[in-house]
């Protein structure tokens, strides 16, 4: 039986996280259908159909799915999946994390959270204890529900042309109502898919410093901005920038940690980065134990100097 992958989309296209979750879904070796649910989201269904390896796109258009509410999406997945699917997959984003455990409970199965490796269709690796240990988990026969640690998988490339089939909406859930949303358009790459991430920690000292010092470097490098829990806790940066055990996991080509001491909870979210650079005034900071390149110095002078140095190098070329 095949796999149903819940797509995340903005009506126009599917997210990078969806393309990465698709990678994981395809590694089960079974046919993968993608569910695109929303209102006026046909373009997103077309984008999903163009992802390599997709068997079918199931398009469900109804106003109930406009805001990605877990109750209606879980009911829809159960309605579609009770007969025809065995495995249910979503990216481990805010959406996937909200919807999939509800799906698992409705099917009376345990979910495997944040799968980092697909070993077989029924065995998966996942991280526990802030990434200090990896579990090899085997699921029993029956329905399997997974969320995917997106930083552990490469996105599937475009190159397919799967058929798009429409399906009927599931039951309504009027006891949950959408009130409003404020989503910032930063113009920066998504944190979980960026090639470069510049993160600030407690050492930034204030939200103003965070903005004034981190943003120029990030802009120059085309980087996403991240933050440690300490920086989020202190109000220097918004919550959705948190990198770590209980925030996002990232694995960019280059991760620059500024004023971050390197608590294990933070390392859990970034130690799979290809190259790690750390800037910290404390040469004993644990971050230096995992950084490829470390610079001991005061970030308040290092960051502006680095920005100037990068600018000059740009001019030379």
């Amino acid at each position: 039986m095949s796999v149903l992958l819940l797509a995340e989309h903005d009506n126009a296209k599917t997210t990078d996280a969806t393309a990465r979750a698709l990678s994981a879904a395809l590694q089960t070796g079974k046919p993968v259908d993608i569910l695109v649910a929303g209102e006026n989201c046909h373009p997103a269904a077309e984008a999903a159909a163009a992802l390599s390896g997709v068997a079918r796109v199931i398009l469900v258009e109804d106003a109930a799915y406009k805001h990605g509410l877990a109750e209606v999406l879980a009911d829809l997945i159960v309605q579609l999946g009770a007969q025809h699917y065995q495995t249910f997959v979503a990216a481990g984003t805010a959406l996937g994390k909200s919807v999939m455990p509800r799906v698992a409970a409705l099917f009376d199965v345990m979910q495997v959270t944040d799968v980092s490796r697909v070993v077989s269709p029924t065995s998966f690796e996942r991280l526990i204890y802030a990434g200090n240990a990896i579990q090899l988990v085997e699921v029993p026969q029956g329905k399997t529900v997974l969320t995917v640690r997106v930083s552990s998988f490469e996105p599937v490339k475009v190159g397919g042309s799967a058929p798009i089939e429409t399906a009927a909406a599931g039951p309504a859930f009027p006891r949950t109502r959408f009130v409003g949303e404020s989503v910032q358009q930063t113009g920066r790459p998504e944190l979980t898919s960026a090639r470069v991430v510049v993160s600030g920690g407690r050492g930034m000292g204030s939200a103003d410093n965070f903005d004034a010092l981190i943003k120029p470097i990030a802009d120059r490098l085309g980087a996403a901005i991240g933050a440690s829990r300490a920086a989020v806790d202190s109000g220097f940066a918004p919550n959705d920038l948190q990198v770590g055990q209980t925030g996002k996991a990232v694995a960019p080509e280059l991760y620059i940690a500024v004023g971050i001491s390197g608590a294990i909870q933070h390392l859990a979210g970034m130690k799979d980065s290809k190259v790690i650079v750390a800037i910290n005034k404390d040469e004993e900071a644990p971050i230096f134990q995992i950084a490829d390149y470390g610079l001991v110095g005061d970030l308040f002078t290092v960051l502006p100097d680095l920005d100037r140095a990068l600018q000059q190098q740009n001019r030379v070329t």
Partner: protein
């Protein structure tokens, strides 16, 4: 309005756990244990609702071995009214915990369940959503703001890229994110008072819940270690390295 707050006893966040060499799990002998930090936020939120005159009683529940009693006492010292201890040894999966909680919800009839978004030991992030699913209740995960009235809880949630606000008809389940509040420390007089607060004991069997694990953990192992590189001497050298790796 009665509020139910499930709490979990977990390895303290400052502890770096060690994986047993035989692959059978992590070594938890003589390790400091604490209340899951996100559950502390849940307890705090319930207390704030009570202080605002919106909640009448706060019942804390925990599933675990006899030492879990300490975790419940901590919640009572913070300001919860009474505890329910579901005695169970060994790990209990989120699905089983959600089933236990669903039974307790049946007995206690709370209007609101507030719980941490994730436990920092198994990092599952499931229990609240599963409970809401089993009860067919509205759910709001990753709350950074919550306001409750007689019939509704309005929750601002942390989502990717920003915030979303939902209104849920009660009864409902809310899971807490980091920014919802800053949990208080229990004062000494409150710690003394908490010793007299009641904690009822029950078992999964008495509640009619099978807690046999569904997932088989066949091996637990350490991730590949990452070794440190070198220190660079100057910003110019760092800029060159950054440039080499990014191509800007």
């Amino acid at each position: 309005m009665k509020v139910l707050v499930p709490v979990k006893r977990v390895v303290d966040f400052n502890v770096k756990v060690r994986v047993r060499p035989d692959g059978s799990g992590v070594d938890l002998a003589n390790v400091k244990m604490s209340m899951n930090p996100f559950d502390e936020i849940a307890v705090e939120q319930a207390i704030r609702f009570k202080e605002q005159g919106k909640a009448s009683e706060i019942v804390v529940v925990s599933v675990g071995p006899k030492e879990t009693n300490e975790t419940l006492r901590t919640a009572l010292a913070m300001g919860a009214d009474r505890g329910i201890h579901v005695l169970a040894s060994g790990p209990v999966e989120p699905l089983a915990v959600a089933k236990i909680l669903a039974r307790i919800v049946g007995d206690e009839a709370p209007k609101l369940v507030i719980v941490g978004k994730q436990a920092i030991d198994d990092d599952c992030n499931q229990t609240g959503q599963m409970l809401a699913g089993l009860l067919r209740w509205p759910q709001a995960t990753f709350a950074s703001k919550a306001d409750v009235s007689e019939s509704t809880v309005t929750v601002t949630r942390e989502i990717d890229g920003g915030l979303q606000t939902l209104a849920l008809d009660l009864p409902a389940v809310v899971t807490c994110d980091l920014r919802l509040n800053e949990p208080r420390y229990a004062s000494l007089p409150n710690i003394m008072k908490a010793k007299k607060k009641p904690i009822a004991e029950t078992t999964p069997e008495a509640l009619g819940v099978d807690i046999a694990p569904r997932l088989k953990i066949s091996r637990t192992f350490e991730p590949p270690a990452r070794s440190g590189g070198r220190k660079v001497a100057s910003v110019a050298e760092l800029a060159q390295l950054v440039r080499d790796h990014v191509g800007v």
